[in-house]
Each structure stands twice: as structure tokens, then as C-alpha cells.
């Protein structure tokens, strides 16, 4: 029983870390998109949209971190 109890939370943490990588991945790719927009002088709206999505993903990431810290 003790073992199971010990394993369960660590699994959850791994899962949470895994989940946190999804918004991180979106942040990274949106930032790359902003670079492309700037480098190629594309319409700034695209960059703005990507920046907003980055902010959303940061919030999401922060929530995951919160959950991890509560473990």
C-alpha cells in the first residue's frame, strides 16, 4: 500500500510536467512565427495574434506549475 501511495503522486507530477510542455511548445512556435512576421515584413496583426496566444499559453503553463507545486 505504502508503495502505491508513493508512486501515485510522482506519476501525476510526470503527467503534469508532460502537460506543461504542450503550452511551452505553443509559446515557442508562436514566438518563431512572430520572428518570421518581423523578418519578412508581414502584416503586424499576425504577430499580435501570436503574441496574445503566447500570453494565454503562459497562463496555462503557470496553472500547471501551480498544480505541480501543490503536489
Amino acid at each position: 500500500m505504502t508503495n502505491q501511495n508513493n508512486e501515485a503522486p510522482s506519476k501525476n507530477i510526470n503527467e503534469l510536467i508532460h502537460d506543461a510542455r504542450a503550452p511551452l511548445n505553443r509559446i515557442s512556435m508562436q514566438a518563431e512565427l512572430i520572428k518570421l512576421v518581423i523578418e519578412n515584413e508581414m502584416p503586424p496583426e499576425k504577430a499580435l495574434e501570436a503574441a496574445n496566444k503566447i500570453i494565454d499559453s503562459c497562463q496555462e503553463c503557470s496553472q500547471f506549475l501551480e498544480q505541480i507545486s501543490n503536489k
Binding site: I17, D19, M29, Q30, L36, K53
Partner: protein, 448 residues
């Protein structure tokens, strides 16, 4: 242009990745589940598939099985957000299957799509690894940014490039970068052929450059293609081009002008279509003054001259380079050495007359000296190599200097060399210690 399928249930990621991949000049399709991917694959062929490891209706591995059973063989890059899965995937990876770990960067996608070796699974400190521009160049300084812009611009043309810079700045690496950028701009996979003009004997240089027919001369037992031919539509890198004997240079000029070569002993001219990147560690002024390259050849080779900055002109890149070299060694020998801030500062403070090559060698030496059990690096007290000290000791004598100035300079240099030991300095200078003290007092600006 490649036809690419992205399989991932994260819609925002697939959308933005599609944008980026399409910008890189490829066509994309997306699927958010295995089922959807099976359907798309039934009616479409793809060159490359980016595949999330965990999908709502199963693992990405099922899709690999499915593809293996069909007669299709696209390149596959598995994308995982799970650190534990990373190790498992690396054992799966074959020549056509690679993997990337989230978070992805544009460069990861580009590298995967170039179908070259993917990141080594054992690589440590991935997050702290600096960006490798054009897959090989490291540095974010202004001087390097300017260099990257020049590489980007010239890659879109066929112009011949001449690389100039001190010994050890990485001329061959810049040549590779131009070649890489050219292949990327044209979506091609041509070859880079390198030849060192300074290392080939005068008798063999024509045969090396233009090839020879069987029996063209004693010892020519078989036909040989020259480097111009071997480079095809790709890039020919001629290192130390200024060391080529001047009487051999007209042959080179003819090829550069006519874009045709005639192998030694051959009757037929062969068309050549490669870009020539040449390199020299002499400055333009020296090339002109010493006439080591004919003027007409210089203008043919240096349609686009690029000067590569010395390491001391981009000191802010030294920590990036030092970390990269140390990480490479750590990975190779499975160790975990790290720099401390003082060591990095010492590396930054030194002038590196032998440039990046010298930095790399110094780090390698320090790595060998370091205790494998400890995380610290044994950086030597003095970086100066025999070669760098020679160049450092070149104190210029110019007409018009007074004997007193020269004497003062000589005493200063000698004292610096023996760490201020006056008896030793006096002995080296062939004067008594007393005389040395007298001189020092007379100059007044030396401390006792």
C-alpha cells in the same frame, strides 16, 4: 518542396507549425488523431510526417507500424513532450525515423526536414545549447549577425565568394554555412567538395583541380575526376587559394571564365557549374602587395568577398562557444563539467590570437586536465600557446623611435615575461641587476 503531414491533437500547435512549415516552402496537411491520419494516408503520399507520440486514440507508434506495412516510406519525426519517452524513442530511431522533444523551434523543424542526422539523444543541457546558425555557426554578436545576413544574401545567388580572415576564425565552417544555406534556398542536396591548394604539390595541382584521363602521365593508372567536376552543381571550397603557384593560376582563370574544364590528357571540355568559395588568411592588401594572386583571378573569385571577424572582435560570443565546446566534450566522454563565472570571464578577457581554433584547443586541453569525478574544469593559469606568444611578442620597431624608447620597451617586455623578477630580467637582458634598477628609476614610471 516537400509534402508534409502533421499529426497532433493540439490544434493551436498544428496551425502555427503549418504556418512556419509553409513559410519554409512546403505543403502541409494535418490530422488530429490516428484515425484521421490513416484516412489521409490512404489517398495521399507524404515525404515527411511529424507525429505526436501520444494521440487521443493511441500512440504514434501505431501509425509507424501502419506505414511500415504499406509500401510507403516517408521520413518520420516523432514529437514527444514526455522526457521518459525520449530515451525509449532514441532506440527506435533509424535513418528515416527521428524524434524531437517539445518545446520545438523553427530550427528543429528545418533540421528534421533537411533529412540530416537529428539531435543526439544523449545530448545534455539541450535547453542551454546556443543556436547553430546554418547548422554550424555559433554566435549572436553584431559582427556575426552581419555575417549571417551576408551568407543569407549570397546563398540566393551563384556568385563566387572569397572568405578572408585570420587563421582559426573558421573559414571552412563559413563555407559549409554558405553551402547549407544555398541548398536550403534551392531546396537541393548538392555536394560540398573541399580542396586545400596549399597542401597539393605543384605537379599534381592541375590533376587535382581538373582531373586526368587514364595514362595522361606516368602514374595515372586510372581516370580521375577533378574537384570542379566532383562538385557538380554544388560548392567547391578552395582553401588557401593564395598559396597556389602563380604560374598555375592562368588555368584556374580559364575555368572561372569559361565554366569549362579539360582534364589533363583529355580532349573534351567538360562543363562545370559549381559555386567556388575560396579562402585565404592574407588580407586584401597583402594579396595585392605580395602578388600571391593574379588580379584577374582575384576579381573572379572575390565577386562577393566576406571578411570573417576575429574572435577578439566578438568577445561576447566566447561564453556561447566555450559552453558549446565543453558540452560537446561532455557528451563525447559522458562527463558533466561546467564553467564557473570567473573562468568564463578569463576566457573572455584573453585575446585569442589563434581565434576559435585556439579557444577550442585550450578547452580541450583543460578538459583533459580536469578530474572526471568533479564538475569543475581545470583551466590552465596561462592560455598562451607557443604560437600565440610569438605573435604577441611581435613588438614593432619603427623608424624614428629613439634608442631610449626601444630600450624602455625591451625592459618592459622582458619584465612582463618573467613576471617582474628583476634579477632574471637583468640576466636575460645581459645587464647587472643594479643597472636595471638604475634604468627603471630613470624612467620613473616603473614601480620598484
Amino acid at each position: 518542396m516537400l509534402n508534409i503531414l502533421l499529426v497532433d491533437d493540439d490544434e493551436e500547435f498544428t496551425n502555427v507549425a503549418c504556418h512556419i512549415i509553409e513559410f519554409l516552402g512546403h505543403d502541409t496537411s494535418t490530422a488530429s488523431s490516428l484515425e484521421e491520419a490513416y484516412q489521409i494516408l490512404e489517398f495521399n503520399d507524404f515525404d515527411h510526417i511529424f507525429l505526436d507520440f501520444m494521440l487521443p486514440d493511441g500512440s504514434g507508434l501505431h501509425l509507424i507500424d501502419h506505414i511500415n506495412k504499406s509500401n510507403k516510406s516517408p521520413y518520420i519525426t516523432l514529437i514527444t513532450g514526455h522526457p521518459l519517452v525520449k530515451g525509449m524513442l532514441s532506440s527506435l530511431c533509424g535513418p528515416k525515423i527521428g524524434y524531437l522533444a517539445k518545446p520545438l523551434q523553427r530550427e528543429d523543424l528545418e533540421q528534421a526536414l533537411s533529412h540530416k542526422t537529428q539531435k543526439k539523444p544523449s545530448k545534455k543541457n539541450d535547453s542551454s545549447m546556443p543556436t547553430k546558425h546554418f547548422d554550424c555557426l555559433i554566435g549572436e554578436s553584431k559582427a556575426m549577425q552581419e555575417l549571417y545576413t551576408m551568407i543569407e544574401r549570397v546563398a540566393r545567388t551563384q556568385a563566387n565568394v572569397m572568405l578572408m580572415g585570420e587563421s582559426g576564425v573558421g573559414k571552412e565552417v563559413v563555407a559549409q554555412a554558405i553551402h547549407y544555406a544555398t541548398n536550403k534556398a534551392n531546396n537541393s542536396e548538392y555536394e560540398l567538395v573541399a580542396s586545400n591548394c596549399g597542401a597539393i604539390s605543384k605537379d599534381l595541382i592541375t590533376s587535382e583541380l581538373f582531373g586526368h584521363e587514364k595514362g595522361a602521365f606516368t602514374g595515372a593508372i586510372a581516370k580521375k575526376e577533378g574537384v570542379f567536376q566532383r562538385a557538380g552543381n554544388g560548392t567547391l571550397f578552395l582553401d588557401e587559394v593564395t598559396e597556389m603557384p602563380i604560374d598555375m593560376q592562368p588555368n584556374l582563370l580559364r575555368v572561372l571564365e569559361n565554366k569549362k574544364v579539360t582534364p589533363v590528357g583529355g580532349a573534351k571540355e567538360i562543363d562545370v557549374n559549381c559555386r567556388v568559395i575560396s579562402a585565404s588568411n592574407r588580407s586584401v592588401a597583402e594579396i595585392a602587395e605580395k602578388k600571391c594572386l593574379r588580379e584577374d583571378i582575384y576579381f573572379r573569385l572575390a565577386v562577393f568577398p566576406i571578411s570573417i571577424p576575429a574572435l577578439r572582435e566578438r568577445k561576447e560570443d566566447i561564453p556561447l562557444l566555450a559552453n558549446t565546446f565543453l558540452n560537446e566534450l561532455n557528451n563525447e566522454y559522458d562527463r558533466n563539467h561546467q564553467w564557473d563565472a570567473t573562468q568564463l570571464q578569463r576566457l573572455v578577457d584573453y585575446d585569442w590570437p589563434g581565434n576559435v581554433r585556439e579557444l577550442r584547443h585550450t578547452i580541450h586541453r583543460a578538459f583533459i586536465m580536469s578530474d572526471p569525478q568533479s564538475a569543475s574544469v581545470e583551466l590552465p593559469k596561462d592560455f598562451r600557446s607557443p604560437f600565440s606568444s610569438i605573435s604577441e611578442q611581435k613588438h614593432s620597431l619603427t623608424a624614428g623611435q629613439t634608442i631610449e624608447d626601444v630600450e624602455k620597451e625591451l625592459i618592459k617586455v622582458t619584465l612582463a615575461d618573467v613576471n617582474g623578477n628583476k634579477s632574471l630580467a637583468a640576466e636575460m637582458l645581459g645587464i647587472s641587476t643594479k643597472t636595471l634598477y638604475n634604468r627603471l628609476h630613470a624612467y620613473g614610471d616603473f614601480k620598484d
